[in-house]
Structures are given as structure tokens and as C-alpha cells.
Symmetry: C2
Subunit: 140 residues, 2 copies
């Protein structure tokens, strides 16, 4: 699927539930896939008794990855040219996360159309856990 500039308007948006009830297992899977085995994310005892957190929490990059998946699902493969985020709050096991994407600008650079997209992740309480921006190359 490819987004066309001619079919897109500033303000066009899309919500996608990127994870429903995040499990500790998915966090462990992310540790294995990324090679980031910091026990804060996988060892509840360590997170609580050594680090003083209520328990394990997700890698920030897992949240960013889920947001990235929502972006590439929307704009198509190989169309995302830049992607940046701010990490606002932690992501916990049990969270249900929704990616909210919205076109903030449409522009042309050297004849190629691009969309700037506001991309945030909110949890089941409506709290923004990740706030970001992305740019995607469009078809005319």
C-alpha cells in the first residue's frame, strides 16, 4: 500500500491499537530480538528490590518500535525517511497502547511529495507515553 499526496489532506489521521495488554513475555521477546538484556525489563525482583521500581517495564525502544510499525503500516514499506520521538513516560506490563498518527504538513522537496506526520502513543488511561514526528515519501 502506498499513500498518494493527491489523496491526503493535512489533518488526516489514523488510530491503531499496537498492543492490547502488553505481556512480560513480549518484553522478553524484545530483549531477545534487540540484544538489550538489561534486567530492569525482564527481572521483576531486580526491578523492585535493586532498582526501586514497581516492577519490570518495557524498553522505551519497544514502544518506539510499535509506533514505527503503525507508521509503516500506514505509509507503506520503505517510505519512512525520518522518525524521532520523545520518551514521556514508562510502558508497563498490562498496558494497552494506541498509536495516533496525523498528517501535520504536506510538502514537496525537489519534486518529490512528502508528508510530515505527528505520531504519539497513548496508554489505556489516555496518558501520552511517546510523542514523535515522522516524515514519509509519498506517491504523487
Amino acid at each position: 500500500m502506498v499513500l498518494r499526496a493527491s489523496e491526503l489532506t493535512v489533518g488526516d489521521s489514523r488510530d491503531e491499537v499496537v498492543v492490547d495488554n502488553l505481556t512480560r513475555t513480549q518484553i522478553v521477546q524484545y530483549a531477545g530480538a534487540s540484544g538489550d538484556f538489561n534486567p530492569l525489563h525482564t527481572d521483576d525482583l531486580y526491578a523492585r528490590e535493586v532498582a526501586g521500581y514497581p516492577g519490570v517495564f518495557a524498553h522505551g525502544m519497544l514502544g518506539m518500535g510499535l509506533l514505527g510499525k503503525a507508521l509503516t503500516s500506514w505509509v507503506g514499506d520503505g517510505r519512512l525517511t525520518s522518525f524521532g520521538v520523545r520518551f514521556r513516560a514508562q510502558i508497563w506490563p498490562g498496558d494497552t497502547l494506541t498509536a495516533r498518527l496525523s498528517v501535520s504538513a504536506l510538502r514537496t522537496d525537489e519534486g518529490v511529495p512528502y508528508a510530515d506526520i505527528t505520531a504519539v502513543v497513548v496508554n489505556q488511561d489516555g496518558a501520552e507515553v511517546i510523542a514523535g514526528n515522522a516524515t514519509a515519501r509519498l506517491d504523487p
Copy 2:
């Protein structure tokens, strides 16, 4: 580990090999962890015969995740406040990827010290596959 502003200078840098000989299996692991099962990344026949690529390639977000891991290893847990990248080139099975981090600025915001960090990923041929910037909160 925590970085201290008093011990850091603009230009301080760190290289880390984040993956040595990326395997198709690690790409499949990333698909499972992120939920992004686009067959471009896991099905060689699809990638070649349907999509016209030489074969499967990694999710861009896997490369970004590996760079994020190098960043958090350096600046400490929960210290990364923002992180943005441009996707420059594809990452292929067999690639060996090095994260190159370098302090581009040191500054204070409302009394809190921060480092701006240039963060790129290069492959075994020296090609830049991801180019990014990050900001980390420091201790004084």
C-alpha cells in the same frame, strides 16, 4: 551507570558493534517482538519474486533499536529523553553494524544538564545506514 556532565566533553565518542553478522533468525525474532510480520523481512521468496528485492532485509526499526541499545548502554537507563533518525540504506542479513556515538553539545535546561549526541549506524563497508540524534539527561 550514569554519565556526569563534569566528566564529559564535546567530541567524546564511543563505538560499539551492535550486531556481528546479522542473521535472518534475529530479523524473525524482531518480527515476533514487534508484531511487524511484513513478509519482506522474513520470506525470501516473497522479497525476491513478489517485491523485487535481492532478498529479505531487516526492519528499519530493528536498526534503530540496536542504535538505541548502544545509546542507553552509554547514557544509562531512563536517561534518553529524545531520539530521532533518518533511514539511509537497507540493512541486510550478514551485515555487521557499528553504532558510532559522539557528544555534539553539552547544555543546561532549567538547571538540568543534558548532552546532545550524534548517533549513526555504519555497516561493514563503512556505509551509513542510519543517521540520528539523541538527547540524554546527565548528572551534574
